[in-house]
């Protein structure tokens, strides 16, 4: 990575504001990641009783426990154990599931595509619907359209994901059987069937996000529309469409990108519930199943991966944001 090259330079060089901002953000993310890994590592050892028992799950013969002790080196110094945990995690070894006896990493790899598809579809929905409704609400200020968009956004924020899921199942899978309400078929295997099963979950997961995006787009558009440069653009005789599309919207998108980044945690939490309702074999279902079967090795792996991904995405969002808006890296919101 270029990071090591830059930090290894012997002579202190004047870094550009962008580089130093990036380095600070990366350093912060790394510290957070290390702290997270410590919490995850400590969490399983905070369980009442013997961690070997916890990791063993149902298999509790003395031989199995001894094997786990040796495997995880549970008799070693705690720092040594942590070092080994990290070493294994970095090479992709997240231990063995006590429920299936298979590597945790394999279970995660199998679950990932499901959750990624769900997240991508909901994100797409949230962006298209949210930005569209936000523009309409801002441009048609004080008209029924704005009122409708606002009401929908407020509903989207107040209706819990899992209840919306049940209502949609009731409406579109039971009363009017248009969509299927459970199970997963890979997109590659049967695209129409895959989509038929993914539409409802994506709507459920995307609705709250769409509401947030709509509110932010509306607020940002209202700010932009009253800004001097938009008035100038209008005075220049640009068409309404050009003013709204190129001038006002582009500046509003900066805010929207940030908000999307901030909402990713909700997306992950929402995916857990959505997968539970629609019986999708994704990350969320893996997590919940791990809790109920006391499969701590899987739980540890899933939590570590989710948090690492979350930290990485937040870092990328910040970097993207600073590329779009130079004030962030120069002024420093932090």
């Amino acid at each position: 990575m270029s990071l090591s090259l830059k930090t290894a330079r012997p002579v202190p060089v004047r870094l550009s504001p962008m580089t130093s901002y990036l380095l600070t953000r990366i350093r912060q993310s790394l510290i957070t990641l290390v702290l997270v890994s410590m919490v995850v590592f400590a969490g399983i050892r905070a369980l009442p009783g013997d961690p070997a028992l916890a990791l063993a799950g149902e298999e509790r013969s003395p031989a199995a426990l001894a094997a786990i002790r040796a495997d995880y080196g549970l008799d070693d110094n705690i720092a040594v154990q942590y070092g080994r945990f990290i070493g294994h995690a970095i090479t992709g070894d997240l231990g063995t599931s006590s429920r299936t006896g298979l590597p945790v990493a394999d279970a995660i790899t199998a679950a990932l595509p499901v959750t990624l598809e769900l997240a991508a579809l909901s994100l797409l929905l949230a962006v298209v619907v949210g930005i569209g409704a936000g523009i309409v609400a801002a441009v048609r200020r004080g008209r029924p359209e704005e009122w409708l968009a606002n009401a929908l956004a407020l509903l989207g924020l107040s209706v819990p994901t899992f209840w919306l899921g049940m209502v949609l199942v009731l409406g579109f899978a039971i009363a009017l059987p248009v969509f299927s309400a459970s199970g997963y078929v890979p997109f590659a295997a049967d695209p129409p069937d895959n989509l038929r099963r993914m539409v409802l979950p994506a709507v459920v997961l995307g609705s709250g996000l769409a509401a947030v995006v709509m509110r932010q787009t509306r607020a940002a558009m209202l700010d932009s529309l009253s800004a001097d440069y938009v008035r100038t653009a209008r005075a220049k005789g640009l068409s309404r469409r050009e003013v709204i599309g190129t001038h006002a919207l582009r500046n509003s998108l900066v805010t929207v990108v940030t908000v999307l980044g901030l909402q990713l945690g909700h997306l992950i939490s929402g995916a857990v519930v959505t997968e539970q309702i629609f019986v999708l074999p994704g990350f969320g279902k893996l997590t919940i199943d791990a809790v109920f079967t006391r499969d701590y090795a899987t739980l540890q792996g899933v939590v570590l991966c989710t948090s690492a991904a979350y930290i990485l995405i937040n870092l990328l969002v910040d970097v993207a944001y600073s590329l779009i808006d130079p004030r962030i890296r120069l002024g420093g919101a932090r």
Binding site: Q28, I31, T32, L33, L35, V36, V39, G43, A46, L47, L154, L155, L157, S158, V159, P160, T161, F162, W163, M166, V167, V169, L170, I174, Q216, A219, L222, D223, L264, G265, H266, I268, S269, G270, V272, V273, Q276, I277, T287, I288, A290, V291, F292, R294, Y296, L299, V302, V303, T306, S307, Y310, I311, G331, A333, R334
Partner: protein, 292 residues
């Protein structure tokens, strides 16, 4: 988020009553306030309000549709849905209030310290906040439930902990802003000790932002409780909770849709009410956030 704003004049008492009047004029906020009040009262006086014992099964009357004897119908065990919704509201409010209280008790002092002392303290607190934010709410709650075991108390703790980072950030940002405001600078110049400045001058100034945060935190906690209980990680059946009711309703969606509809509507009504009230409060108390 932490940008220091130009000095704002200290608020006076008459401005406070003017704000109350402004809030009263906001019809949406008042509607929200009334619904929230109904919810709170129902929760407080659940034994008086509920027409039936929420836990008593009546198999002869199982899965009864809404009607005169059971306004919201009965569930698969013949328990009265209205009574269970009322007791569920009680669990929701309990979690809502206690979780937010927990988040404030931990978050406000940390935010004050980070914002006031800056430098090393700020770095430590900010990294702590980032670490907590690195766990998506549900992952954190699920992890805690796995470690502590599922129960109403543990769900409250999990939800409270998940709200701490937001409280820290808001308190920190407010402290950063207020530290340079004239009246605080004057208090420092007058030789006010750190504790005096923090608790007598800065904390009161941060009340508006924290009030708004509380009205955001309560509905979030209500949804959080319903969600955790729905997943089996919160309130355990046969205790009544809106999430437990919805979880039970999943198996009876086709024959008894009312089992899913009414507890869900209760959650929506409660969160909507607090959100409306919160929006109104934000418009009145925190003009900077009003445009957001």
């Amino acid at each position: 988020m932490t940008t220091a704003l130009p000095t704002t004049p200290a608020r006076t008492r008459s401005a406070g009553s003017g704000k109350l009047r402004a809030l009263r004029k906001n019809r949406l906020a008042m509607t929200g306030g009334v619904i929230a009040a109904v919810f709170v009262l129902a929760a407080l006086f659940a034994p008086l309000v509920a027409p039936y014992d929420p836990a008593r099964p009546d198999f002869a009357d199982a899965l009864a549709a809404p009607g005169w004897s059971h306004w919201l119908g009965t569930d698969d065990l013949g328990r009265d849905q209205l009574s269970r919704v009322v007791y569920g509201a009680r669990a929701s409010m309990q979690v809502g209030v206690l979780a937010v209280a927990l988040a404030f008790v931990v978050g406000v002092p940390l935010g004050l310290l980070a914002g006031y002392y800056g430098k090393f303290t700020d770095s430590v607190v900010s990294r702590l906040t980032d670490t907590m934010l690195a766990f998506p709410f549900l992952v954190l709650a699920v992890g805690l439930a796995a470690v502590l075991g599922p129960s109403l108390t543990n769900a409250t703790i999990a939800i409270g902990i998940s709200q701490i980072p937001a409280v820290i950030r808001i308190t920190r940002a407010e402290t950063l802003r207020l530290r340079h405001v004239d009246y605080v600078a004057a208090a420092v110049a007058n030789g006010g000790g750190d504790a005096t400045v923090l608790f007598r001058h800065i904390l009161p100034g941060a009340t508006s932002a924290l009030t708004v945060q509380a009205t955001v935190g309560i509905p979030a906690a209500i949804i959080g409780e319903a969600l955790l209980s729905f997943l089996g990680l919160g309130v355990q059946p046969p205790e009544a909770s809106l999430g437990v009711m919805l979880s039970g309703a999943q198996s009876f969606l086709a024959p008894a849709p009312w089992m899913a509809v009414f507890p869900g509507l209760a959650v929506v009504a409660a969160t909507l009410a607090f959100n409306l009230l919160g929006d109104g409060l934000r418009d009145v108390l925190d003009p900077r956030g009003a445009t957001r």
